[in-house]
């Protein structure tokens, strides 16, 4: 009989069960000598010779599953690269809207991609398209992600209140959601951008967030309604846990996966919406490049054959949206507790 304490999981984590040693009864496991009944109990429980799989929390488990999702991994790579460019690019190579060329240097035609300007140059002010795309990435991604975060925050708060408290408040909030959903959204965004936006990036974020929380709030409400009835919540109540802790420690952590998944889709939708609004000239102040207003400016040059001007920002939008959707898809699988890696 060995007297050695056995490690809980083997360091490699690959062969979690060591049967020979496991079959040895309870004594000498590094715990105070238990009395006979307790020893019997431990033996029955299998505590001393059954060792579970590696100890992983939910995020580690999710990552294990996520890794097996090739498209999601690719999406994550692209998204990571884009975000890095959006952060670092403008610092290394800022967009200088003061660098207006002399009138005699203004040309009507843009220049196609070359070694010096791999994405080509625009017509008119002869700006470098790569520089525009890099600086535009910052604004577009910033708007996409921050409006999502704000929208998810609003949606989660509204949904939590409606789902947890229920009753009249639930009714009022959900009817409000219905009203928001029945408003012709695009029209309102355009009006709001014109009236309140003035091309200010932060205001644009707020406006977008204001119109992207409804889906989340419905989702969160229904999650609250179902998780509230789960036995572990009842168990928490039974030991006297207060509502606040039930919401933040029990319900929200279990609601997080579906929220994350639909949040990823909101990012994609808002990046497209930003491009669209800017394209129509209602978005961010046109002196700051965004992917949308680059496209918009390129519009009149398309008949002249300046394909590179709209192509590269357009490509970026497509890439970003695809990447975000792939990541969302991967998260859906990875966070689904029914599947195990």
């Amino acid at each position: 009989m060995t007297q050695e304490a056995k490690p809980l999981s083997t360091p490699t984590g690959s062969s979690p069960i060591d049967v020979e040693a496991d079959a040895i009864p309870a004594i000498g496991m590094g715990v105070a000598q238990p009395d006979e009944a307790a020893a019997l109990r431990r033996e029955e429980a299998g505590a001393d010779y059954e060792v579970a799989l590696e100890s992983l929390n939910q995020w580690q488990l999710a990552w294990r599953k996520f890794r097996h999702h090739r498209l999601a991994l690719m999406g994550l790579g692209i998204l990571g690269a884009l975000i890095a460019v959006a952060i670092v690019g403008p610092i290394l190579w800022p967009f200088d809207f003061n660098s207006i060329p002399k009138p005699d240097q203004i040309v009507y035609q843009g220049r196609p991609p070359s070694l010096a300007h791999p994405f080509g140059e625009t017509g008119g002010l002869q700006r470098d398209v790569l520089n525009l795309v890099i600086n535009g990435a910052r604004t577009s991604l910033f708007i996409g992600f921050s409006s999502m975060m704000l929208g998810v925050l609003i949606g989660t708060i509204v949904g939590s209140i409606a789902g947890f408290l229920g009753g009249v408040l639930d009714n009022v909030l959900m009817r409000t959601v219905d009203v928001f959903l029945s408003i012709p959204l695009l029209f309102l965004i355009l009006v709001a951008s014109r009236v309140f936006g003035n091309g200010n990036v932060l205001l644009i974020v707020v406006i977008f967030a204001f119109f992207s929380w409804m889906g989340i709030s419905r989702l969160v409400r229904s999650l609250f309604l179902s998780i509230r009835e789960r036995e572990f919540v009842e168990a928490a109540r039974a030991v006297g846990v207060r509502d606040r802790r039930i919401i933040f420690r029990h319900i929200l952590p279990n609601a997080i996966s579906p929220i994350v998944v639909s949040a990823s889709l909101i990012v994609a939708a808002n990046i497209i919406a930003e491009a669209f609004v800017s394209f129509l000239g209602f978005g961010v102040n046109p002196i700051y490049p965004t992917w949308g207003n680059i496209l918009s400016n390129a519009l009149t040059f398309i008949p002249l054959g300046n394909w590179w001007w709209p192509f590269f920002p357009g490509l970026m939008i497509i890439l970003t949206v695809l990447a975000v959707n792939f990541v969302g898809d991967g998260l859906r699988d990875a966070l689904d507790p029914r599947t195990r890696a």
Binding site: A45, A47, V239
Partner: protein, 413 residues
């Protein structure tokens, strides 16, 4: 323990004779006096030589200080319908229940799904608000408590749930699951809490160092132990065990039952044990209440209930238990139809639509017209039936032999 009818004692690894010879001698050849003493179930129903004594005077009623006192408890759930969410019907989940649980005993509630036993267990703890009635715990009136008092009470009254997967938060490590009650009750500092969590884990047969693990790393039986540890950490006096072993495999069931019985001894606990499994109930209980459609229809000491059931439903329930000894094949008393909906319980005696005794007595009107009392027919033995005195294995046997099980199953209740 030399009685050959006990299935419990197969010789270890013994290439025992197939046992058919012994089996043949089991029934019918025993002296009738002994058969009288026997549990009525061990005999083939029609062959039972005589009725069990009406009340066994030798059976002492378990006496003790009353810990939980439930009077006329009701829980009605509204069924909402229509656009305006108006109440269109009522589910009479628990409909007027009285019982006491004495200090140190295991009081069991048994019944089929929809009989209200689970709702009753939750209502006693006020996890579900009762519609009417009173619950006294010790000297306190639980029904009148404000939320702060109720929270304090939680450390005295605990619950263990049926589903070992659903009752543990998958996003929480074991230390938080078990320690949460201590935080909520404001008990101890971090160090003391950690120690108590470790103690609770050890008490249920798990290792102290499991605290950083998550529920999905454990098997069903081990999770159920964690659920027990959570209840135990608060050092309660009273625990509601809601189907604590029903979701577990047979071999794990017995481990958890052993654990629960050990803990009762070690920590002076009182249990309200809820189950649909009649064999488990018989093994653990001191006293048993049989529930049917939101009411207790029979209440007695476990021994007496299993030996001489006095409610026609109890008798049918006991007769339905499959017996793992193939040598004891007996004729079964099969009830007709299904349990009626608790939305519309039958008038009078709730059981009259399926009652075999009523049929045998020529359908007396009283069963439909008047709801029977849960009346005392012997010391500590209460039955909710107008004709409890007429219930006997002989009658049941006559009925069972006159009606084929398939015919019974085919009859509309």
């Amino acid at each position: 323990m030399t009685d050959p009818t006990t299935t419990s004692t197969p010789a270890p690894a013994a290439p025992a004779p197939a046992g058919s010879a012994a089996a043949g001698a089991l029934e019918g050849e025993e002296p009738s006096t002994e058969a009288l003493e026997q549990d009525w179930r061990t005999s083939d129903l029609p062959g039972l030589p005589g009725d069990a004594p009406f009340v066994d005077p030798g059976l002492a009623v378990v006496e003790g200080e009353t810990l939980l006192h439930v009077t006329n408890l009701k829980k009605h759930f509204p069924v909402l319908g229509g656009l305006l969410k108006k109440r269109v019907a009522t589910v009479y989940a628990v409909d007027g229940v009285d019982f006491d649980v004495r200090k140190g005993e295991i009081f069991s509630l048994v019944g089929e799904s929809g009989c209200g036993k689970t709702t009753l267990g939750r209502t006693v703890l006020r996890l579900i608000e009762p519609t009417a009635g009173t619950i006294r715990f010790g000297s306190a009136d639980v029904t009148k408590m404000k939320s702060a008092e109720l929270r304090r009470l939680r450390s005295k009254m605990q619950i263990v749930f049926q589903d070992p997967f659903g009752s543990l938060n998958p996003r929480m490590p074991v230390s938080d699951i078990i320690g949460e009650g201590l935080i909520a009750q404001g008990l101890g500092d971090r160090k003391e809490r950690d120690k108590r969590v470790g103690d609770a884990l050890e008490a249920v047969g798990l290792r102290r160092d499991y605290t950083r693990r998550y529920p999905h790393e454990f098997s069903g039986g081990q999770r159920q132990r964690i659920g027990v540890a959570r209840a135990l950490a608060l050092e309660p006096e009273f625990i509601v065990l809601d189907e604590p072993v029903s979701a577990l495999d047979v071999s794990i069931q017995s481990q958890v039952l052993n654990l629960l019985l050990d803990l009762r001894k070690d920590f002076d606990l009182t249990y309200l044990f809820i189950s649909h499994n009649l064999s488990v109930i018989e093994y653990v209980s001191d006293r048993v209440g049989v529930m049917y459609l939101g009411q207790i229809v029979e209440l007695s000491s476990s021994e007496e209930l299993y030996r001489s059931p006095r409610h026609p439903y109890t008798l049918a329930l006991l007769s339905a238990i499959p017996d793992p000894d193939p040598r004891r094949r007996r004729r079964r008393l099969v009830l007709k139809g299904d349990v009626p909906s608790p939305v519309n319980p039958p008038a009078g005696c709730h059981f009259h639509t399926r009652c075999w005794l009523r049929e045998q007595l020529g359908d007396p009107e009283q069963c439909v017209a008047q709801e029977p009392e849960l009346r005392e027919i012997g010391p500590g033995h209460r039955v909710k039936c107008h004709f409890a005195e007429q219930v006997s294995p002989t009658k049941a046997a006559e009925f069972a032999s006159a009606h084929s099980p398939v015919e019974m199953a085919a009859a509309d209740a």
